[in-house]
């Protein structure tokens, strides 16, 4: 029988489908998954390539004379701009602080660029700016430069923020993917998936009981506490877009090692797990804004976990896996039923399923 010809029924089994390779940017290019990585590689790295960019870290580390600084930038386009547990302003400050913190830097100064759509209420803008001020004050950083542009209205409450930040690295060996070693243990500072579900529930107007609030927070105090307590931190990464699974895949690729993750050990609040089950989402891919993974030697695990538990008793920090020699799969998930499967990078957007 020829391929595509369906036996005795005479029904054709070819799959009619059109071309989707449009060469245009789609939302999936911003989803933090494989499409975005390909875009960065094929367009940005191709033309901007330099040793700093090739560090492939959340912040770039630059030596200025005797001072070592970390420098980073991030843009925030979250819709809606207010969500349970935060708003776009808090996110814009914490996001950049966290990118500095996971590079082992003490954040110092931020910039803020605003793109506003005409029609935005000044009161709304002021609320967001106050939220930014509050977070900056709490973190002891100043917003020292800024910019404002106004564009035509496209949506209600059209407000986008870019923040850049610099910080000083005081540690001899700052955390980096190239410092990850075989045998390192992987710890996470708390339960995952809160931010993604909080934003989705606000955007789609679905309410969960109890209300799931974003985990959006400044991670610098937790990270600096680990260093101050003498924990040998080999690498850090905040698990934002694309969730824990995507961060782990990025680090596995950059370190040329593989990780094995115990699904049972990954802390997830019951309400987040429930929401994910209902929506057909995998919490390992749901965004966080206050969670990081740390790679530490086995002997430092309990010390690190004690410090994190002291700081945030409600977050259930945990050891979730370890580093092994490079395998076929960059990240292996020993799943709930005890079987090893591959945990790939998110491809495309995570969309709620029909059934």
């Amino acid at each position: 029988m020829n391929p595509g010809e369906f036996g005795s029924t005479g029904i054709s089994w070819s799959c009619p489908i059109g071309s989707t390779a449009s060469g245009k940017i789609t939302l999936a290019h911003g989803g933090g998954g494989t499409l975005m990585h390909k875009l960065i590689k094929d367009v940005f790295e191709k033309h901007f390539s330099n040793p700093y960019l090739r560090q492939h870290h959340d912040s770039t580390v630059i030596d200025l004379g005797k001072v070592r600084v970390a420098f980073t930038t991030d843009s925030f386009v979250v819709k809606p701009i207010f969500f349970p547990g935060g708003d776009i302003g808090k996110l814009a400050v914490c996001g950049t602080l966290n990118d500095l913190a996971v590079a082992g830097a003490c954040p110092l100064y931020l910039s803020a660029g605003f793109i506003l759509e005409e029609g935005l209420g000044v009161d709304v803008l002021e609320k967001i700016v106050c939220s930014m001020r509050r977070e900056a004050d709490l973190a002891g950083v100043s917003i020292v430069t800024g910019d404002t542009k106004v564009i035509e209205q496209k949506a209600e409450d059209g407000l986008y923020i870019n923040t850049s930040g610099i910080g000083i690295i005081k540690f001899e060996v700052p955390p980096s993917p190239k410092n990850i070693c075989r045998g390192d243990r992987i710890i996470i500072n708390g339960d995952i998936g809160r931010h993604g579900i909080a934003v989705l529930s606000a955007r789609e107007n679905i309410t969960f009981e109890p209300v799931i609030e974003s985990d959006c927070m400044n991670l610098a105090p937790a990270i600096l506490s680990l260093y101050e307590a003498g924990v040998e931190v080999h690498c850090l990464r905040d698990c934002t877009r694309g969730g824990l699974a995507t961060s782990l895949n990025e680090l596995a690729e950059e370190s040329q090692l593989s990780f094995i993750i115990e699904e049972y050990s990954v802390p997830i609040k019951d309400e987040v797990r429930g929401a994910c089950e209902i929506l057909g989402l995998n919490p390992l891919y749901v965004a966080n804004e206050g969670r990081f993974v740390a790679f530490v030697p086995e002997e430092d695990v309990s010390n690190a976990l004690d410090i994190l538990k002291d700081l945030y008793p409600d977050f259930t920090p945990a050891e979730i896996g370890r580093v092994i020699d490079k395998q076929n799969s960059p990240v292996i998930l020993r799943n709930y039923v005890g079987i090893d499967t591959s945990l790939p990078m998110l491809s495309g957007e995570q969309l709620p399923r029909i059934c």
């Binding site: 029904i11 799959c15 039923v337 499967t341 591959s342 399923r353």
Partner: protein, 365 residues
Amino acid sequence: MKYIDEYRNPDLVRKLIGDIKRSCTREWKIMEVCGGQTHAFLRFGLDQALYPEVQMIHGPGCPVCVTPVEKIDTAIALSFRDNVLLCSFGDMLRVPGTEKSLLSARVEGAHVQTVYSPLDAVRIAQEDTSKEVVFFAVGFETTAPMNAISVKKAKELGLRNYSILCAQVLVPTAIEVLLNDSACQIDGFLSAGHVCTVMGYWEYEPIAEKYKKPIVVTGFEPIDLLLGVRNCVELLEGGKYGVVNAYPRSVRREGNTQAQALIKEVFEVCDRNWRGIGVIPQSGLKLKPEYIDYDAEVKFADLVCISVTKTTVCIAGEILQGKKKPSECPAFAKECTPENPLGAPMVSNEGACSAYYQYSHSRRD
């Protein structure tokens, strides 16, 4: 988490897998019909654990995958119309039509909104009567009752601005199509637990009888799936056939008769085009004449698309029949990925190719 963790108990999973494998005197090919089950088999690695004694074959039961191109083209055409708001479940948005998906249409300014229930779409229609709200009614027997309720509710409310673009399909007819193929190698079936929750399993009894195959009503958690496989293997090893209910906590033989009455009241059976398969007689549902005002294809007859683009690389048909594994396709994970699907099973999370892509990177080598 209650009602989930009990069905993911690793010790029980290991025991069931061991029991099933030991009970096999030969290799069996079992098809899980539903895409949700395919997703779960691959997510938990159960298909690999059962291999080679039991070889799972992934069936055509992914509603997103089998929705025909012309329906998606029609949905896209509707969404570009000035006063229309096209409402859809999330995973329909990425499925490519002839030129674009609803997601890419939205990038170009089309009016597309994700909803979680057709009743949300009715509510939107009620709140803004200047807008024509069209719900993309996709799915198997599981989504049909809610879609029926939405149409009934719109009629009760006297809403003239709500309609559905109907692509409902029926499971039993699809199973018969597979069994009618002279080259069919499937020894037994796991039937979809949620479809049977609505429809019961009496419809499968004559099929099991006619084709002398076991059909086991099966749930979606790891323990449920393995109980389904164990029941199926027991029947096969005993040389028996028939229908067994391995999901009794949700399914009764007669099903949810209220839901069935709703479906019957609003819909009638019709021929339906399945993407990658073709027209299967009596395999779908359409609105009855008394609800015809709520049929988007009648209301917007000028926008209805008829289009068929063929590609020769994709072997979706053979994959849906279980003759080939996704990894045997020359385009799999090369030209064809979830971001750029060449065939429908690569589109949805529940499609066999997409599930393979997500959970079996190591198997590709």
